[in-house]
Symmetry: C2
Subunit: 493 residues, 2 copies
């Protein structure tokens, strides 16, 4: 790895100098105590561990002894084999329990950092990057945005993206710049076009790109290795820091109908793995592979970012909760699944989601695509299919003459029709996500997309994360509503 990116620009409210001057005195004292166990400390006001009323925590988790542990877990139900991860004040795990229940280092417990580092080493090539524990990806993204943003900055992101994330950045004074996305994910040529033609009147050129390479939410698209390389090259040339938000990394699928070959093959190479400059900040989570309510994940970054992230953590959420850290330490440790068992679990989980995807796609072909009014690409990863509605076939579809208006003026009534379709689904008992809720807010003064996103918002997001019963009940409704809707019935109110 070369030196840190030149363009590390930290929030002016919280400059390194300010932090060094004001936080370090107290932290220095704690460090003196930690590094010199022979010293007697009357300094830290920490409750003594003898007063914690917790003697033992047992997590009963799925066994991963079989080749397909998720299938077994689901089919055997209450009789599926389990193992108990026990952490107690009374045995060798005492130190872990005591330190997990105490105030801790902002980065996380050293044991937890070690297990996520082991995960990184198995799945990514990222020498010299270091890990920081988080409370899941929303927390991680918010902290990265705070670290990298100065109010007035412009950041790049997929033009359709998970709605709360851009909102969080706006709270830090960031303006978003949408980059066009297609069925293969973010389009490198569009990224380059924006950067090459950047108008200085908009403020300084963006130095941050937020993107989701696998099973992007909401479009379900996955970046090919070639696009990843192109995007990284552009980032090097324009000195961009890439926030790689990759919650669906372990849910990467093969072609429909095929046996899940990824049970043995390698997962796609992450942006982190091709990072030689330290410009990729990768964000991982246990939410999709374990449980979202765990609120635990990790950031992998250049050490310079790690140092600042830890300062942000010490000044806000502090050390991550001990309960989740104990679970992952025991789970990945010698008495738990270990890394080989974790790998079996995530591959088995991936196979399960691939079957769900294929189940949904089959229903979709039969009941929705067959109407001739909608289509969808096969997602290679994640939890969503992105359904294109052929809104231009609707009897009330209207398009203004091309020469009648300016480049970024809405020319169609797509938004109105899609709202009617959403309402019609609700009226028939089905909830789907309209694409409009995922539109990245752009500055209209600089919107030079070939066509306005409102005219391209003829998509709905449908998930296959739910049960087969839900899909079997929901997809036929979608097909029926589409047929009625395109038959030109007046809007359900």
């Amino acid at each position: 790895m070369t030196a840190a990116p030149q363009f590390i620009d930290l929030n002016h409210h919280l400059s390194p100098e300010t932090l060094a001057r004001k936080v370090n005195p107290l932290k220095d004292i704690i460090r003196v105590v930690t590094n010199n166990p022979q010293l007697i400390s009357l300094a830290n006001g920490d409750p003594h561990h003898s007063l914690y009323p917790i003697r033992r925590i047992d997590y009963e988790v799925a066994s991963v002894a079989s080749d397909d542990p998720v299938a077994q877990w689901k089919s055997l139900g209450a009789s599926a084999p389990t193992q108990i991860l026990s952490t107690s004040k009374d045995d060798e795990s005492k130190r872990l329990l005591n330190s997990a229940l105490a105030y801790g280092h902002g980065a996380g417990l050293s044991e937890a950092l070690r297990v996520v580092t082991d995960i990184n080493i198995k799945y990514h090539t990222a020498p010299n990057h270091v890990v920081t524990m988080t409370l899941g990806n929303a927390d991680a993204i918010t902290k990265c945005l705070r670290m990298l943003a100065t109010p007035g900055d412009s950041f790049l992101a997929d033009e359709f993206t998970f709605a709360p994330m851009p909102m969080a950045a706006e709270a830090h004074g960031v303006n978003w710049v949408p980059v066009k996305i297609d069925s293969g994910g973010l389009v490198p040529e569009e990224l380059e076009r924006i950067l090459a033609n950047w108008d200085p009147k908009r403020g300084r050129r963006p130095h941050v790109l937020y993107t989701t390479p696998c099973g992007q939410n909401p479009t379900g698209s996955t970046l090919s290795q070639e696009r990843r390389k192109q995007i990284y090259d552009i980032a090097q040339r324009y000195d961009i820091i890439i926030i790689e938000d990759d919650p669906y990394y372990f849910l990467q699928y093969d072609a429909p109908g095929s046996e899940p070959a990824h049970m043995t093959k390698d997962f796609a190479k992450s942006l982190l793995s091709i990072d030689v400059d330290g410009r990729v900040i990768r964000i991982d989570t246990f939410s999709k592979i374990m449980a979202p309510g765990m609120r635990l994940g990790w950031i992998t970054s250049h050490p310079a970012f790690h140092t600042h992230l830890v300062k942000f953590i010490d000044l806000s959420t502090q050390n991550p909760h001990g309960f989740g850290q104990i679970l992952i330490v025991e789970l990945l440790g010698p008495h738990g699944w270990q890394l080989a068992g974790f790998d079996r679990w995530v591959r088995s989980l991936c196979a399960d989601y691939q079957r769900r995807r294929d189940f949904l796609l089959a229903l979709f072909e039969r009941d929705v695509a067959s109407t001739g009014f909608a289509s969808a690409d096969v997602p290679e990863a994640g939890m969503f299919i992105w359904v294109r509605v052929d809104v231009e076939k609707h009897p009330r579809f209207v398009r203004a003459a091309d020469d009648a208006t300016g480049a970024n003026v809405v020319k169609t009534n797509t938004t109105t029709l899609m709202t009617e379709l959403f309402d019609a689904c609700i009226a028939d008992g089905l909830v789907i996500c309209p694409s409009s809720v995922f539109i990245l807010p752009a500055d209209p003064r600089y919107d030079d997309m070939p066509s306005p996103i409102d005219d391209r918002s003829n998509f709905i997001r449908v998930t296959f994360a739910g049960s087969e019963e839900t899909m079997a009940a929901g997809i036929p409704i979608l097909g029926r509503v589409l047929k009625e809707f395109f038959a030109g019935s007046s809007p359900t109110k």
Copy 2:
């Protein structure tokens, strides 16, 4: 409660209008799904609970059947009676486990909100205030500051305070205004003086006061009921929102040597309890009464603040971790300690800390006060004694003539001597906290304190939270170092 305070001024980056327009579409869809269970949802991309690999969580906790459960817990060690709080997919607690491990409402699980509301009702009088779960007080304070701060604002706080909290506010562009504190805590007359004489050149008048009413960190001071009333009156007249950070509420002591009468008597009345306007935002935590590594607490506020806090949570840390919420729900629930057992635990814990305080005070009298170079008030709450060092008795103490300099110019070498004392303690194997690390940073242009805080920083913070062994080993060192130091030996180093 009357209407919300007039002076609710939310961060301009994240105005209610912005939030309503941009977050609500997706949240609206989730609300539609939640409120209409008969609808079939293909909208939310949540992993199905059948895929969470966790079947059961057992917390083995102290029994609170005895009258003094903490004393029993400590004295019986590994043979102390316990009870197991079990939450499982296979029994009546299934719903709790499934919802705790799923994505959840930013405010917290409804079951968790109910148990902290029960705690509030038992200990406080706060009709119409509502609760929001947090990740402990640092998280809570940061979120309150974000909610209330517009960059350039001035906020009021105790002149000595826990260092990371003012730092967090500075990151949001807040300037701090120190209010003088004495052995009885924040001085109401000083608060009024600052507000009455506010110079508009400093920006708008402060509308937020951050204070710790019980066992303030670092001074150990506790506000009397009379001062609380005075401070609340001032807050009403100047329309101030009070952030009541009260981690030591349950650690309130009687006079030294007395039997812990508070085992039965009422705890002091919180600022929340006297709040009729909705202008007190109270912050509680399980860190001091259970374990800090839990990272769980709650905010009690006017519903208007709650609404905005939940938006901040949805845009950053999201719902609090399920593990800690399960623990408190089970602990306070019908199979756990219940509220009566919780009350026994906190009162017993309080008695334990009172004994620790008295143990430390006796050592202090014998080894430190006896030197004639230091003294301390008896703290009525918390974990700290605030030791006044009679630095003016040091042979190298220097004071400039009063007429030689301006009002806020440092006149003594107190800081230098206190640094030497700190270093001398370290050299003899003892770590204490010098008061300098707790000084609230003030704008020197407006520092009109009767004397500069540097000249009043002749204090050290000593904790009685540690073990008796630590105190018995540490306090004699402090006495010895003081004697040598005041004998005028040259600075170590």
